[in-house]
């Protein structure tokens, strides 16, 4: 950790792009010790990197990739003799150093409606409080040292809290590898000692059930980023003979609640967190939350610390655990040279895919552009998860006389065009 800290350049902001969870964690610790702030954008497209550099001109990138093409000054993580064991094995627990609770550990970013990511400050003390509460609610503070393996990247808020920070707090071990294919999830899980936890998402859990692999005995499965249907939760618990707990949170607030979906739809809030309703929006505050924050979902209080989740606010899109806003995506689309007008649209139906993912659609008015060029331009700006499928070129959008695109008109337009496209 000290060795890594010594290699970090002078800038106060670091983009920790290490894919390996151990290296990410050491990089995070080194940054904290040097009072550097880690920046955690949700994606690393060229456009976002540009915006990050505008936000913090002294930002540099810490990477462990053989070929990193992030357009920032780069420092390569240097493995030393402290990396023992063969790859894929868990790492021994280590003591976190004393860090002031008020220290700004990180900035996370969400997609604003203006096309520029919005920063949210995360102080160390509140991050730890949140994760400690989480560990308690997940039943991981029973005196046993749990080993964690996760399919979520450490840069994602969920992965950051529930694998990196949870690992630091629990004193247990965290698997450095991030398994992807079902067969790999199984072998990574089998390789770590019990008691062990799988931190994952609905997509990967669905894939595990659909693949013909057998998961070794697991002590707990944690899911987040999208609500898990109860039947799926029951199937996971039944087939894998385990408990499945779900976490609810947001990039802005961090995790704030949990439930056991196989048993109940109700969520239970973290200690001292409360919800209030204002003008049709739900606000969360208290506890570890940095400041009162408007939530992007509709939450209905059902008790002092309980609520039901009723779905997202209209503008938001969540694909495979990545969140964006239609306004942000539209802004990116229409800023492309040659695009006269355009809009993204999220269809209602979920296709019959094994991973359960619904893609966004886009309607574009761009007489001078071809599809390939347009997609390449989009790829520079937005996360691949949001690339439209399909992207349809049209003559014009159904805007009304004031230039607005009413939801109903867009819905009807989409229905007509999508039907004729198949």
């Amino acid at each position: 950790m000290a060795r890594t800290a010594a290699t970090l350049p002078a800038g106060d902001h670091v983009l920790n792009a290490c894919a390996d969870r151990y290296r990410f964690t050491v990089g995070l610790a080194a940054s904290l010790l040097s009072s550097k702030v880690s920046l955690l954008p949700s994606t690393h497209t060229p456009e976002v990197i540009r915006q990050l550099a505008a936000f913090a001109p002294d930002v540099f990138c810490l990477t462990d990739a053989a070929h990193c093409d992030i357009d920032l000054p780069r420092v390569h993580y240097a493995d030393g003799s402290d990396r023992t064991g063969s790859h894929g094995s868990h790492d021994p627990p280590w003591q976190p150093p004393e860090i002031d609770s008020g220290q700004v550990a990180a900035y996370v970013f969400t997609s604003g409606s203006t096309g520029t990511p919005l920063p949210y400050k995360k102080t160390w003390g509140r991050l730890l409080l949140c994760v400690r509460n989480g560990a308690e609610r997940l039943g991981l503070r029973d005196g046993r040292a749990y080993a964690l393996v996760s399919t979520v990247p450490p840069q994602h808020m969920y992965g950051f809290e529930s694998s990196v920070l949870l690992g630091l707090q629990s004193g247990g071990a965290v698997c450095a590898e991030r398994p992807f294919y079902p067969a790999d999830v199984c072998s990574a899980h089998a390789a770590i000692p019990r008691p062990r936890v799988l931190i994952s998402t609905p997509i990967h859990l669905r894939a595990l059930l659909a693949a013909e692999v057998s998961l070794p005995t697991t002590d707990l499965i944690v899911s987040a980023t999208a609500p898990l249907p109860q039947e799926l939760a029951r199937e996971v618990e039944h087939r894998l003979s385990t408990r499945l707990l779900e976490i609810y949170g947001s990039t802005e607030t961090g995790q704030i609640a949990a439930r056991r979906p196989a048993h109940t739809l109700e969520w239970r809030l973290w200690p001292d967190v409360s919800l209030t309703s204002k003008d049709g929006q739900t606000w969360a505050q208290g506890g570890h939350i940095e400041q009162p924050t408007a939530m992007c979902d509709v939450l209905e209080s059902t008790g002092a610390d309980r609520f039901l989740l009723h779905g997202r606010l209209a503008d938001l899109v969540n694909i495979a655990g990545k969140r964006s806003s239609l306004a942000y995506l539209n802004h990116q689309l229409t800023s492309i040279q040659g695009v006269v007008d355009g809009t993204f649209f999220l269809p209602d139906e979920t296709p019959a895919s094994r991973t359960g993912v619904t893609r966004v659609v886009a309607f574009v008015v761009a007489p001078e552009l071809d599809a390939a060029t347009l997609v390449n331009e989009l790829r520079k700006r937005i996360d691949p998860a949001f690339l439209p499928r399909p992207m349809l070129f049209v003559d014009r959008l159904p805007r009304n006389s004031t230039g607005k695109l009413p939801q109903e008109a867009l819905r009807a337009f989409a229905a007509a065009h999508l039907k004729s496209a198949t």
Binding site: F180, A183, D184, S353
Partner: protein, 101 residues
């Protein structure tokens, strides 16, 4: 339209891999609900990123249908895996070499 050489039983690698290529391309198009048709997929074009423009969600989806259809479990720790999704041709070679169905 009938396949050329379909009545011949002798192994003819070129014809077999072309047929498997078409089969896998069909599988991909159907599983991912793509706008292109199987014939449109250039066997040597990139599947991931630019080229066919698939992302990691799609890769997972493909891994599932491939495992169901051919009994092949895709893994990330093999040397060859960097190559597996390089192109349709690479994927098909991997399937042909490891299939159990």
């Amino acid at each position: 339209m009938s396949e050329k050489g379909s009545s011949l039983r002798q192994p003819a690698p070129a014809a077999n891999s072309a047929a498997l290529e078409r089969e896998v391309a069909d599988l991909i198009v159907q599983a991912l609900n793509l706008e292109v048709t199987a014939q449109d997929i250039d066997p040597d074009a990139a599947l991931y990123g630019e080229g066919l423009g698939l992302d990691s969600i799609d890769i997972l989806e493909i891994a599932l249908v491939v495992s169901k259809q051919y009994g092949v479990q895709l893994r990330a720790d093999s040397e060859e895996n960097e190559q597996t999704f390089r192109s349709l041709r690479h994927l098909v070679e991997y399937i042909a070499a490891h299939r159990t169905k």
